[in-house]
Symmetry: C2
Subunit: 431 residues, 2 copies
């Protein structure tokens, strides 16, 4: 029996045309992150299980991680997210590093879940984190950076919406304003996090199950629904407008000069480590209505590694929903192959042609040589099948004259050029 | 108890200075591979176990893979090498792809082994493969490409040595010339593969154990040692010089215009899939005497996936021994941080300064803003600790005058400049 040619379920093979798109996305991510002073780091894809147990959230660790026991009997995980890794790294050099510390990475992450539109088992994720800034300028910078990345992909503010909330304000709503028991508050918080995925009846049903009878008698469902319907901070009951958390959110919104940011009281972000402002970005197209990226403040994570805690704000941005977004809004660029010229050889003259080919490579051109010694027509067909535009033919005559037949496959032109002319024509049109 | 800050054993954290070196290496690899017409691909880090069982070699699969059973009861592996993945991908699109097909990738690979100099559990590896070329021009191209990469890193031919051999010729030596039984031939082949890691006495001892008494009586050890001592093809017994395999090797050597290539009869490459010419590159420095990279022809692998086989030559080149090589020969470059300017804010003026900062970013400069509202001296210390050279200070005055104080930390200069002058100075000195 022969082996299957399929990639592992929920993961992708990247053929050159797929990889080209991925590299384009990574390049934009890198350029904008670096323009804001972020520096790239990386960590191993295998981490000890324990760094996820504390704060990631039990659903992810218990049901969705790829975890196993290694040959040395260690419990390890193929990372489902990057935040615990970067927190570990910062903790390891807590004293040596200079703050504010700006870090970014583009790791691949693994979660065992049912593959579906926008969710795969393996995805790549831009992770951006700033360490050592207590003020909301950290959140302001990360949201502006998010916006700058969307703009760098060619998007405008009608295509996506940035929603902000505050974990501390949610806690106040649940514990102080609605006076929920600790248990009810926990369950309701988890339910709010799932709200976008539930229809209204299911949400109400599960809300009912999450509350004590006394809480229901206290009209908690009505009060909560009214709060979740808030379209802006000014819709909140006056009792909530006096807290520091409320003021932080208000400050954040007034500092962001963006017309597509709004307060949304149901934005939670799943991870248990968020401690302050959280934000999430949604595609406004209805065909791609998933959360595209999100983040927030998690001041407590670095401290779990036995060092003094440090103020941290970060976000994660996956590649799968981003590609859907770019497709949906016709923002996918036309990307050319990296190869500039396909070189056909007339006869068995590879050895003789090597110096000429080296000379072209020294000019910065990327050249693929047809080494098959086939008929020229078949060689040219290969170039066409590869989506290449320029073909040169080298035979004994060309070696003597130092002129080439340059074929442009798109418009079926043919020119007789010398090396310098060839370089000019192709570079002018090149990436 | 707090969590450990160490990375998983045998794997590396990449802080920005480490990542910068890795990115430099990847950039050189990519540039040279693309100049030869190779296009980048990628595949999932998790693959089904079965694709390694057939041809990788039992030691790697049985003792060194990270394999486990996933939540769907599939036997999977964190890839220890890339060749089975790329073979699977080519088989999946056997008919659609255009040949010669040139592919490269820079995957991270995992092997469970004792970490030591030049060998870690996780490493990155440049994989370059050409599909669809039957002639030795494929090997010639890949060895020339290897050499071009060394040169692109600044190396010269006195620093490394390229050794070539032929699996077919080894088979002829073992089976026809030495007349070994199938079992002895297999064991001796494996032993030759380990030869560089054994001292002479151990090698002879294990050779003795690998042979039948009749073979020992036939002076096989003496004959084999004499062959393994060959410094060039002309040292081989005349009986071996008539085969096609010998002629291919001779052709290869005469086609390579390199002064550091030689025939070495003990080069085997561990993998079971090699079917023709194999090659390996060694650092000539005695402090780093491991094999640095290697490859060869493996015409049979794509065919295991149920399609027509295809001629293939490929190599793998790991990052760990390469870094050792670059260090050993003083070829490591000085790499600057990606951030061009550190911006200190005099007072709480982040909001007011944003337009000016955006204007500088639009000029293509990478700017890190100090958001801490500390004393200027402390802000400048952060810039220095980060290894940045240029610092500008923005306060109310600077916003009014549109001039900045530009400090150059290396030579402790201070200049008063406008935006245009600032851009000129920093870009002139930039990466």
């Amino acid at each position: 029996m022969s082996l299957s040619t399929k990639p592992y379920k929920g993961a992708r093979d990247f053929y050159p045309e797929d990889k080209r798109l991925q590299k384009f996305i990574f390049k934009v991510w890198r350029q904008v992150a670096e323009s804001y002073g972020y520096e790239e780091y990386d960590a191993p894809i295998i981490e000890p299980l324990e760094i996820y147990l504390a704060k990631t959230g039990s659903e992810i660790v218990d049901e969705q991680t790829y975890n196993f026991i290694d040959r040395g009997k260690r419990q390890v995980v193929i990372r489902p997210e990057m935040t615990p890794s970067v927190s570990r790294m910062v903790a390891a050099k807590r004293q040596e590093l200079a703050y504010p510390l700006r870090l970014y990475s583009i790791p691949n992450l693994w979660r065992y879940e049912r593959p579906q539109r926008g969710r795969l088992r393996e995805h790549w994720q831009l992770n951006v984190d700033i360490f050592g800034v207590k003020s909301i300028y950290a959140e302001v910078e990360l949201i502006n950076l998010t916006d700058a990345i969307f703009k760098a992909f060619g998007a405008n503010s009608t295509m996506y919406e940035i929603k902000v909330n505050h974990r501390g304000l949610i806690n106040e709503i649940l514990k102080n304003y609605l006076q929920l028991s600790q248990n009810s508050a926990y369950n309701v918080a988890k339910l709010i996090d799932r709200k976008a995925k539930l229809d209204k009846a299911d949400f109400l049903d599960q809300l009912d199950q999450s509350l004590l009878d006394s809480e229901k008698a206290n009209k908690v469902p009505e009060k909560l629904l009214s709060i979740l319907d808030s379209k802006s901070l000014s819709d909140l009951p006056p009792a909530l407008t006096k807290s520091d958390n409320f003021k932080q959110l208000k400050d954040l919104l007034s500092n962001l000069e963006l017309d597509n940011v709004k307060y949304d009281p149901s934005i939670m972000r799943g991870f248990d480590y968020y401690s302050g402002i959280v934000f999430e970005v949604f595609d406004k197209s209805e065909n791609n209505n998933r959360s595209m990226m999100g983040g927030g403040r998690y001041d407590g994570l670095v401290g779990l590694f036995g060092v003094e805690p440090i103020s941290t704000v970060g976000f994660g941005w996956g590649d799968v929903t981003l590609v859907n977004f770019l497709k949906e809004h016709a923002l996918l660029p036309q990307l050319k192959p990296e190869t500039d010229i396909y070189v056909c050889l007339a006869g068995d003259i590879y050895t003789k042609a090597k110096d000429m080919i080296s000379a072209l490579r020294r000019e910065g051109l990327n050249l693929a040589i047809d080494l098959t010694n086939r008929k020229l027509g078949d060689q040219i067909k290969s170039a066409d099948k590869k989506g290449l535009n320029y073909v040169i033919i080298i035979g004994e005559d060309e070696l003597k004259s130092a002129h080439f037949k340059l074929k442009t496959l798109k418009n079926k032109q043919e020119l007789n050029v010398n090396l310098k002319e060839l370089v000019n024509i192709v570079k002018h049109d090149s990436h």
